[in-house]
């Protein structure tokens, strides 16, 4: 397969602070909600060491509404993601459709999931990681596109002007999505 050309795309402002994100990730990697070793192997990423405490065999509840989803559900799904599992596919499809439809109002919508801003950011950034992992498993590039569109929403990256450090899950997503695009 012919390689992609990335001359213009590498100027994307999303990656303008890639080195800072790599440093943030290296320093704070213990704060990641879940670290998916299989995903890293698949995309050829080995810059961080995975030390997980999250359960990898919890049962996924029945999908109801996006507003009722918790970080625990997302981590559970990420840890057990199986492209042949109908429930997993259903969850991912529902999340995808909700986020595409509500892209312009995601910031307000996720207030129903979490009241505190910091928790909201960690939650939505884990959803983005799920989209990236799902893309890697299924090769459905719509999920990669949605992940990129959410990552462009700056208020979902950090907590305001005084706290300038980006959420570590956001830094992780930037580093990983950069790797995924290079692999295209």
């Amino acid at each position: 397969m012919e390689n992609r050309i990335h001359t213009r795309s590498m100027t994307d402002t999303l990656f303008s602070k890639l080195a800072a994100h790599q440093a943030n990730l290296k320093k704070n990697q213990a704060q990641l909600a879940y670290c998916n070793e299989a995903f890293h192997t698949k995309i050829g990423y080995n810059d961080i060491v995975c030390k997980n405490t999250a359960s990898t065999n919890a049962t996924l509840p029945k999908y109801k509404y996006f507003k009722t989803i918790t970080l625990e559900d997302i981590v559970n799904l990420r840890a057990n993601l199986d492209a042949t599992n109908k429930d997993h596919l259903f969850w991912c499809k529902k999340i995808y459709r909700f986020l595409e439809f509500r892209l312009s109002s995601i910031e307000e919508r996720i207030q129903k999931n979490y009241a505190k801003k910091e928790e909201r950011i960690t939650f939505i950034q884990n959803v983005v990681t799920l989209l990236l992992e799902y893309y890697t498993v299924t090769n459905d590039s719509r999920y990669l596109s949605l992940a990129l569109k959410i990552l462009r929403k700056k208020p979902l990256a950090k907590q305001g002007f005084l706290n300038s450090q980006c959420n570590v899950q956001y830094s992780y997503n930037i580093v990983v999505v950069h790797k995924l695009i290079k692999n295209l």
Partner: protein
């Protein structure tokens, strides 16, 4: 007997809507009524929340630049060139009133007013040239249904940015458009005809989109006429046969555009 249609237009000066209207009339199709969606603040807000900055670009191109928007395409046939070649003179839907066509400017294409007007006119089919979602009350009173020309090949590519998506996916054999009936789903209605668009040298996403317009106009009109004459049958599509796409991320679009340029570069 002369066939009767209703037409739905996104704005009165749309090159696409006016071209389709004039070509239909030349082919002895009677346009009973045209519904034009008014440009209001609430429409702007709705469309801006969905499309964001791209709406501003669209307004700039369609309402401000108009024909000048095509000046950049010197080596391809655009809708402007096509109109000249076909001697299409209709510039504004309003001009149709002088030819006995009723033109209704409406806030909502799904309103009771539109529904009642369609019931009154008893058209053979309704022709959609843009303006947003069409609801069941209109679909059920639009004669045989509402015909749309979708910029992607169905059933594979439903939804938005369906020129960009096959390019990004390196699926260059699946670039084309489809004339189909609208239904309650997104591009899931019965198909009349699927058309391929072949790539030319030094293609870009922009040139490809500009080339689509005249080809779609011509093919849409031919297909409508074929259907009205009973020469083309509708083929149902199954929901699972295709995927619904949304706006492609700008980074992925650039990658696709570069790939397209690389694949069509003249030697």
């Amino acid at each position: 007997m002369q066939k009767k249609v209703a037409l739905i237009s996104p704005n009165p000066a749309s090159l696409y809507s006016t071209s389709v209207s004039e070509l239909l009339m030349r082919n002895d199709v009677k346009i009973e009524v045209v519904f034009v969606k008014k440009f209001t603040l609430s429409r702007f807000k709705d469309e801006f929340s969905r499309d964001g900055v791209r709406l501003l670009k669209k307004i700039w191109k369609k309402l401000v630049l108009k024909n000048k928007a095509y000046d950049a395409f010197a080596n391809i046939e655009t809708i402007v060139d096509y109109r000249k070649k076909q001697n299409i003179t209709l510039k504004n839907i309003k001009e149709l009133e002088a030819k006995g066509v009723e033109v209704c400017f409406v806030d909502d294409l799904n309103s009771k007013l539109v529904e009642n007007k369609l019931k009154e006119k008893q058209v053979d089919v309704t022709v959609f040239t843009g303006g947003g979602l069409i609801r069941k009350n209109i679909l059920d009173n639009a004669g045989a249904g509402v015909l749309n020309c979708h910029m992607g090949k169905l059933p594979e590519y439903r939804g938005m940015d369906v020129v960009e998506w096959p390019v990004f996916k390196k699926d260059l054999d699946n670039i084309g458009f489809t004339v189909h009936f609208m239904d309650k789903g997104v591009d899931t209605g019965d198909i009349l005809k699927v058309f391929d668009v072949k790539l030319i040298e030094n293609e870009t996403i922009k040139s490809l989109r500009a080339r689509f317009e005249p080809i779609m106009t011509q093919s849409f009109v031919e297909t409508i006429i074929g259907f009205l004459k009973g020469e083309i049958e509708r083929k149902p599509q199954a929901e699972e046969d295709g995927r619904q796409y949304y706006i492609i991320d700008k980074h992925l679009n650039e990658i696709g555009d570069q790939y397209l340029q690389q694949q069509t570069r003249s030697k």
